[in-house]
């Protein structure tokens, strides 16, 4: 038996609809045999590996406002689905107000790949390892979705259903992701544990985001999101609650890290064992909290 390590793409038809409605209708009419295409950096891998067998790839990069990257102090940040990760990282608005997002993008693959890879593709692929998803979750991302019935919004926090599974229905196209204005002085950290410093998929990924918040007993709000340690990207509400109600100090961070460890349910795979992942979640969450605390000026 011979193994083809470099398979070419199987046959399919490339479709480029003129409008969003045309695209949604086409996708709905061909449910199960068509999928939206952005950068293709997940799709082409999965087609070559024989996991995807779609007859149609429907290019949605050029539709409506999918190319838009805009910021408004009152409304926040809007990233069109077609905006690639290098563009996000290079945006002065993102660097100034959503530095965590740029940091998360920077951890993805390589420069060349990020010329094509998009945040919305990362989200819709719904891998628990998706490196930009944690940042999008803690930043309060909301997806604009166009389906056969028109537009609606889907908060990211309730978007994921399992590995590769989301609330999207046939015909649904995510056109953009929006983030509310970032609280003044907010800071975050993404720690990606891979097999090497750059470019590998994460064994564990820990995102922490925090800011001063007079509405909480501790005076701060902290959130954490975990990658590669559960069937979906995971927010940790227990950590947020603990750090809202306890004075912020080293012991509070230690306990919060234990809560993050308790919240996750990793599996063994080629990149790491479940036991190792659990241990790393605790260590890296504590580290990320301390780093964020420093960035907050403490």
């Amino acid at each position: 038996m011979s193994i083809n390590a470099h398979p070419e793409l199987p046959e399919f038809d490339y479709v480029r609809p003129a409008t969003l409605m045309e695209a949604s209708r086409f996708l709905a009419e061909h449910a199960g045999e068509a999928r939206p295409l952005l950068g293709g950096t997940d799709i082409f891998v999965r087609m070559r590996d024989g996991f995807y067998h779609d007859k149609y790839l429907v290019d949605v990069k050029h539709l409506d406002s999918t190319d838009e990257l805009s910021y408004d102090p009152q409304r926040g940040l809007k990233l069109g689905a077609g905006v690639n990760m290098n563009r996000v990282m290079a945006s002065p608005m993102v660097q100034a107000h959503y530095a965590l997002l740029a940091e998360a993008c920077r951890s993805v693959a390589s420069y060349q790949l990020r010329t094509r890879a998009t945040i919305v593709g990362n989200i819709c692929n719904a891998s628990p390892a998706g490196d930009t998803i944690g940042a999008c979750l803690v930043l309060g991302g909301v997806l604009n979705v166009h389906g056969v019935g028109g537009y609606r919004q889907e908060p990211l926090a309730t978007f994921f259903r399992g590995p590769g599974k989301t609330v999207l229905q046939p015909g649904d196209i995510v056109t953009s992701i929006e983030f509310p204005p970032a609280p003044a002085g907010a800071a975050g950290v993404y720690i990606k544990l891979g097999r090497n410093t750059w470019s590998d998929l994460s064994i564990v990924g820990v995102t922490v985001y925090g800011y001063a918040d007079a509405g909480r007993a501790s005076g701060y709000r902290f959130q954490a999101a975990l990658a590669s340690v559960a069937p979906t990207p995971l927010l940790v509400p227990a950590l947020e609650e603990h750090l809202a109600s306890h004075p912020i100090n080293a012991e509070a961070f230690r306990q919060a890290a234990r809560l993050a460890q308790a919240a996750c349910s990793p599996i063994d795979d080629v990149r790491g064992s479940a036991r190792y992942r659990k241990a790393m979640v605790r260590t890296l969450t504590e580290k990320a909290l301390q780093m964020t605390w420093k960035k907050l000026g403490n």
Partner: protein, 162 residues
């Protein structure tokens, strides 16, 4: 399955090509147009041997459909030299001995050209980061990084003389 007729500019020349949907930019360049400088190392976005410029930005040509390049401008390694004069990154990589088997070199050169275009004074760390997607199994990268830093300096002194 449908063929698509696309028009694009490759190394400054217009080309009209008929491509099936599933043909990658890499396949079109190598198999249809004989730009064999662009290499196929992994066909999976990992190695960077297939790197070309698409509208000025480096991309893995194995991860893009040819049909997605309708109207685009592509530069391959064959398009780096101008009027028979090597690009500073090409000359520097020769001078520094940054080529061994040479398989990674076309992709490295394209990544280096793109880096210097967006950042005329890259530090060694910035060069290493820009080469994360260009695997080289021979040189150990040091000579490549030196060459790119030197190329940036040479380009600057060239520009100063013009």
């Amino acid at each position: 399955m449908a063929n698509h007729r696309i028009t694009l500019k490759i190394n400054g020349e217009y080309e009209q090509v008929d491509v099936p949907s599933q043909m990658t930019l890499l396949q079109m360049l190598r198999d249809k147009l004989a730009f064999t400088g662009t290499k196929n190392g992994c066909n999976a976005g990992e190695c960077g041997a297939c790197t070309v410029l698409l509208n000025g930005e480096p991309v893995n040509s194995c991860m893009i459909l040819a049909v997605e390049c309708q109207g685009a401008e592509i530069v391959t390694v064959e398009g780096l030299a101008q009027d028979g004069v090597l690009d500073p990154v090409q000359q520097a990589i020769i001078d520094h001995g940054g080529v061994q088997c040479g398989f990674c070199t076309p992709g490295v050169l394209i990544s280096a050209r793109a880096l210097i275009n967006r950042n005329p004074h890259p530090t060694p760390d910035e060069i290493s980061e820009a080469l994360v997607g260009n695997l080289c199994r021979c040189t150990g990268y040091l000579r490549i990084v030196d060459a790119i830093q030197d190329a940036a300096a040479r380009q600057e002194s060239l520009a100063a003389r013009l």
